[in-house]
Symmetry: C3
């Protein structure tokens, strides 16, 4: 197992279960997500105990999940509650996974349900906050989730992969600092007195600021386990304090990345951006989402081809340079969590 199980992953968004049940594999488990009788989110094994059909091909009727093959009605605990013409008391149950809707996402705990604690879901101060706007999307990428963590914790790749949007040589030229605070890994880079790249020129204009002046730019990547990477990014007109400059001279936002393993070599990648400026402007949200979607699509081929190369040369050690410190430290946190699960009582994983 290359991922921890006793932790919360983003499984899907509310939009995705609006029209009916959603089948999605998370951490190797095939799950079905839907809303139960109190509109609460439910996650079950995507397997009908009658004949093994995927429950996600069915429909939700008054909060019960009705199998689309022969009409078995599944309850939100994973127990069959009814079936036409049948007594269902002895039917075997399917596994129910703890699931919680919070911050505009649906979170699932693929491990031991007894340990699931909704308080462990990260606090996201910008989520569903009127002063902030959020827009994002979902990509499926055929790579180990840790390659995406590496990608996001070492932004020097922007200079090469995203050279036409957010990349610029100064990212490469400016050293970064990495520190670990408990299970959090923070990599930060401050570039002062540089020209803003195209994406930030746009953001400056959207903030009513000039786009042709030198700026101080920052990138502060926060990894928290299992695989969340939130990146504080922004520019301020040069000489006003950079990250600490007053709002009137800066444009800033948070790049949001929730990386959910599907298998050992594929992920559901929930990406987005939270911004505090012009939060009531949905056209701007769409425009940023479009731009960000284009940028993150540039990573896809690189990550998938990197994954193929690593499978082809499994014995080669990769380098761990200073720029890789964020990813390296994040993997240490991940490894520690996995090791802790392995040594925990057998009951921990069903």
């Amino acid at each position: 197992m290359t991922f921890p199980l006793n932790t919360w992953y983003v499984a899907c968004t509310p939009d995705e279960i609006q029209a009916g049940p959603l089948g999605r594999q998370v951490c190797g488990e095939r799950m079905v997500f839907y809303r139960g009788p109190e509109q609460q989110v439910v996650a079950l094994e995507d397997f009908c105990p009658h004949r093994g059909a995927p429950l996600s091909l069915g429909r939700v009727c008054e909060g019960k999940l009705v199998c689309g093959y022969h009409g078995l009605e599944m309850g939100c605990e994973g127990k069959t509650v009814a079936m036409p013409g049948q007594r269902v008391r002895g039917f075997p149950a399917v596994r129910a996974f703890p699931a919680v809707e919070r911050h505009g996402f649906i979170w699932v705990w693929p491990g031991d349900p007894a340990q699931a604690n909704a308080d462990l879901i990260p606090a996201l101060h910008w989520a569903q906050n009127d002063e902030w706007a959020y827009g994002g999307g979902l990509y499926h990428i055929a790579c180990d989730y840790r390659l995406m963590v590496d990608n996001l914790m070492d932004l020097t790749h922007e200079t090469y992969v995203h050279s036409t949007s957010i990349g610029q040589p100064e990212i490469d030229e400016t050293p970064c600092q990495t520190r670990v605070e408990g299970d959090e890994v923070i990599t930060s880079r401050f570039m002062n007195g540089i020209k803003p790249p195209p994406f930030w020129q746009m953001a400056l204009r959207m903030n009513g600021l000039p786009d042709d002046q030198l700026v101080d730019r920052w990138q502060i990547c926060h990894f928290t386990p299992p695989s969340h990477v939130l990146i504080e990014v922004g520019v301020a007109l040069a000489g006003h304090g950079g990250y600490d400059a007053p709002d009137s001279v800066k444009a800033s936002s948070i790049v949001v990345d929730f990386i959910t393993p599907e298998t050992a070599t594929s992920i559901h990648y929930f990406w987005g951006m939270a911004r505090r400026f012009k939060p009531q402007d949905p056209a701007l949200t769409d425009q940023i989402r479009q731009g960000q979607g284009n940028i993150f699509a540039e990573d896809q081929e690189m990550l998938e081809r990197q994954q193929q190369n690593l499978l082809r040369w499994p014995d080669r050690q990769l380098l761990m340079l200073n720029i890789d410190a964020g990813g390296v430290q994040a993997r240490r946190v991940i490894d520690r969590l996995i090791a802790a699960e392995r040594t925990a009582p057998a009951a921990a994983t069903v």
Copy 2:
């Protein structure tokens, strides 16, 4: 081996070998089908003894199958009969499979040729009978052939999978009876005084009967090995005797299903409908074929996803409810035939 070999399967239709040889895998064997010198159907291994090219890429010339690579001429016994510039006497033979054209289909016996007996091909009273019309099609579905047998022997799925055409709640609500007569399994259901669903409303109109009155509806599924399911279906205006009502107040037909394993997890599914009304109306045949094709296409995703689930959870026992009795009994017949082949003399399988 999950299928019997010493039995007749439908391999293809005459149409499919009209323009030239047809390559098709049956029960794991790659075969080529074509017409020999007396127009008789021939089934051989699809392997040229010269360099291993598929013979099905060749053409038929005066009843000989000419390899499309270097012109080897194959005879209908699997022996090379000629090749330009060569003496072919010592060429190794390829396997010939017993093949028979009957009832508008081409049947193949993938097992021991010595045991092949054309009398074992099922009698189909409706086939090539002027009082009946037949129309059908062929689907390739990635599932174990027994999942399709299950599907056809438990029609409660119509309520869920085919809710817009032939499904209706009464199917679920009416118990079925299953009985076994030798190797035949029969599951029947009689629903009296119900509203006809859309497909049967159409059939009533085609028979010059009102489509807005209550009817008695029946479904009588006949499984015979290895994997043929013929279903007597129909409706009669309510109160005239149902299945036994006179022709003047009913619409009825036979749903025809020949399921031929390609591999352990894929099938060639020959489906169709034989009807005794308006047999000389080819437009009606086409209309029914179109409707039936749409209905059977609805099963495909369910069956393929069910198969994937069963491969993913190989150790889970499925339930065997009363509605599943037809499929369960059919599997017992199949298992008995497979066991008999295993204990037969080794010569039985080449």
Copy 3:
């Protein structure tokens, strides 16, 4: 290993590396091809020692290959020469493969670099010679490279696979002669007083000769290891000496085939035609390339389906007829080379 490694294969054409680096797998090795600082061709493992990204996704900057992920700069010996903000002295090297540009192709030696000798690249008198014109293309085919050698050393297949262009019954009817001269295998066939097939009718017209007269036709296939097949082909008006007739009464050319194994069951197939008539007519070059491309595309399905059949029936012996002598002898040469590599000192393969 089913192919020799200490030999030269055609890897790509200069066109393919004009716009940037090219990733291509040769003999199971993932390689990147590009031009170094002196415009010389370079072949390296397609693996960045930093994080394993394919170097072929990068770009060439002043003869250095810059990784497209984080900017590592790779030198043409496989050693990292620079990386922004890093000391690279201790970085592990990647493998460099000897590569040479010659005769309009880029050749690579996938085996022991110490044994690579550019003098072993075949002399091609027609290449880059003003009296000759060359046009060709590249196909990817999913078959063992030896099946393509067989194909080209036994042209009786033209009668069947290419019946509408270059095939004609006389090929089948005329015996061929095969001889071995060292590592070269030569199969020749001379057909006198026959009607020219469509392709050669066109060539006769292009030479200002009548296309409706009998001709003497020849095919002389030259195999040289590892997998080059050059075929002298042509027609002369009948009775003027055939192959030895004066240029004024004949049309002739050389069919060029360089077959490069990608894996054990797939190839990069570089095909083309060199002609000595109207060499300065690029429209004619295009026309011939188009026609030849259509002809060679006819082989693709046959070879791929033959390969699938051989994988399905791995234990069947193929026949070795007189027409197969060219392929059989070529395989003996290949086997001898592979055996020699196996018994060579271990240093021979890295």
